[in-house]
Symmetry: C2
Subunit: 439 residues, 2 copies
């Protein structure tokens, strides 16, 4: 029944867990073994689920998994997709089964979740500073010799904290650390090559640590101006390349491979191209892309950015939006206003409000969802409600109390974190599988 591959990971206990009544999106009146979801023959368009419900389109997921595998193969890049996007063991498994080398994560508790579901290699693309958080990661590395976890540092204080904890733990192997190169005015990361080299030297000389690579995040440079972005991203990539070469010339790297990592979900094509300029180093180099949002794309900001990527890279059909939130019209209080059973608890609102795409009247003859009349727009959300404005001239019956509305979203990360269970659907919106998140 399961369509997403999950070879090699033990997800059995998720299939065996009992879903309880009250699980958002699920029409449960009694407990249900998760693995039996496909047997329920639920269909979203028939309004068999509870509303709102978050759905993942199986065909789009499979398309995107294959697209990215192909992209990385053609560019000689390694994929460690950012798992913080979905925090879903089943989706991690699908990514690993489709060529991902490891999973990128953002915090110690996220690493613990991934390890629990048998992810064997993690790039913790963040500074790890809290004592208990460092200890939690070191405990996994200590107790599980086959588990690998890379972490970042961007300060001498950070290096000292890591080194001290590794010594206290008595870890048998060095902790692999990447130096983060940052961008003036942006987030973490050393602001200059000199600063970065200082941190790299400190790692190289610290007890219990090994310099394993260089990391940066060009996604912080995304603006509304693609030409300016491309210029800034390429300049940043050149700095990363210079740093890796300089550190290598100094003989600072102490890991069998040198990792060079960047790549959010907007400009990973530039990263793949930029990193190919490194040339020969003293040991093998691995270019690691960390895109998380390629998996579902979206109907908003990533749709726009990925269309630009597609125009640059031209790989046939681009990535498809795979994540939708379906809700029901609960009120039509004014001719131009429909209130939906969906709010800030259910769909992203940080980059843009949800984008209403489809509508369907359950019980109607038509099995396919219709497109909403042009001009329909979600103009506001409260915690549990969305305000859908209809353009003038749309007849009242076009959207009635009890009709379904299917919304695309902008920014997958902030929709995934609003659901503990998402439903995978086929093209007819029949539910084939449940996917869990663990935020």
């Amino acid at each position: 029944m399961r369509v997403l591959p999950c070879k090699g990971l033990s997800l059995t206990n998720l299939d065996d867990q009992l879903l309880l009544p009250g699980t958002k999106g699920l029409p449960l009146r009694d407990t249900l073994r998760q693995g039996a979801i496909a047997l329920q023959a639920w269909n979203v368009l028939r309004a068999d689920t509870s509303f709102p419900v978050a759905v993942l389109k199986e065909s789009a997921l499979l398309h995107n998994l294959a697209w990215m595998r192909d992209f990385c193969e053609r560019h000689g890049a390694t994929l460690a997709p950012h798992g913080k996007t979905t925090m879903s063991p089943q989706l991690f498994a699908a990514q690993l089964a489709n060529g991902a080398w490891g999973i990128t994560l953002a915090s110690a508790t996220q690493v613990q979740v991934a390890h629990r579901f048998n992810v064997r290699r993690v790039l913790l693309a963040n500074q790890l500073v809290a004592r208990t958080d460092i200890e939690a990661v070191l405990a996994l590395l200590h107790d599980d010799p086959d588990f690998e976890c890379f972490v970042l540092a961007d300060s001498l204080e950070g290096v000292a904290r890591l080194s001290q904890a590794v010594r206290a733990r008595g870890l048998a192997r060095p902790l692999p650390v990447l130096v983060e190169l940052g961008i003036e005015g942006k987030r973490a990361g050393c602001r200059s090559l000199d600063e970065a080299l200082q941190v790299a030297r400190a790692i190289a000389h610290a007890d219990g640590l090994a310099l394993a690579g260089i990391e940066g995040y060009e996604g912080l440079l995304v603006t509304k101006d693609p030409d300016e972005d491309i210029r800034a991203v390429n300049a940043f990539l050149a700095k990363l390349v210079e740093l890796v070469k300089t550190a290598d010339a100094e003989g600072l790297f102490g890991h069998p491979e040198i990792l060079l990592s960047a790549g959010g979900s907007s400009y990973f094509d530039l990263v793949a191209r930029g990193f190919s300029a490194v040339g020969e180093l003293s040991r093998p180099m691995r270019a690691v892309l960390r895109s998380g949002c390629y998996l579902t794309s979206d109907h908003g900001s990533y749709k726009r950015l990925l269309a630009q990527l597609d125009a640059r890279a031209s790989h046939g059909e681009g990535l498809r939006p795979a994540l939708e939130v379906w809700s029901m019209v609960q009120s039509r209080p004014e001719p131009g206003l429909a209130i939906l059973t969906m709010g800030k608890r259910d769909a992203s609102y940080d980059e843009a409000l949800p984008i209403p795409v489809y509508t369907h009247r359950p019980g109607s003859d038509n099995g396919d969802p219709s497109e909403l009349p042009p001009g329909c727009e979600i103009v506001k959300m409260n915690d549990q409600h969305a305000y859908l404005r209809l353009p003038e001239g749309v007849i009242r019956d076009a959207l009635m109390v009890g009709d379904l509305v299917g919304c695309g979203i902008s920014h997958p990360c902030t929709t995934f974190d609003k659901w503990q269970v998402l439903l995978v659907v086929d093209d007819a919106y029949s539910v084939t599988q449940a996917v869990n998140t663990l935020f």
Copy 2:
């Protein structure tokens, strides 16, 4: 060990559940019985937890519970606090043990969660329209004759859907329904008294339904102008009063008590006062306030609105902010910038960004958190990071990598939904209890 009262509710299974490594905020390396959390002697200022961590200040919670109980007693108002704010069984229990008559909720799955934890009376302050959602609520009412659930309607379609479902279910008692009166240009609810009366008549005459009251939500009128708000809220309350009197004069109510309900967390004093103007009806009336955010208040928008309420109502000390998110400085990449281990996944950002209030250096002699230098401000958040700007002239050592920052938040609802476990702390930030959310 548990300081929040939870008389009468069976929360034992939450105490017995095993918390797993990877639970955000918790420093777990092995499973831990939730009920044993107080025995761990964790202290947030000592950095014993994982970071970020969400904490509830026990003394502030207890103060706010008593404050609201006292407020309602003095105003002859009934409290059915909005449970969607916290979705926390332990906090529901504390509210019910402190005089709440029931819990208000926003969706069928939320009702199922509350019922699972033995909440006996729910005001579902929303239109209930999806077939499976109506059936889920009716199943609870059918199988548990002592459970009460009120729902809203604002359209004839909505009334028809409810009535049909009740007949199909063969419910032995009528489903109590309140008519929602809305506000032009705002959310759900009938736009005029005439429309509302039409819906009220439909409920009164529908098979299986009973008109139980009138509901409105004055919180939609909150603007930046308190004088204008007060005028608009009072005008809306007058309409609600007129509607309840008219419907009663027509003999439409069919429930032993008439519920008249409004009251978010900004103007519930006006609601309590406005509803006392109803006078004699044909049967007992109950004025139901639904504030959810009184329980924790906040350091942002509700702090401001509740200070105004306090100035109007003058009840001694007002409500205290009880909810904080603590994170650690992970990077100090520029003199005026600190990056914190906390982002959009951890704290509200819809009304305003988090408000940095406290700092503490774990291991320092001082046991109390210090105030941050004036002018420190969180200016941006990514999914997993916050950008704290320090004003010019603050020495670099005032905030170092590894220092803790305690933030207040603005809008409790959108912080609670980012945590599955929050930690209750005493005034010294020692952890006394865990509180679960079920969103």
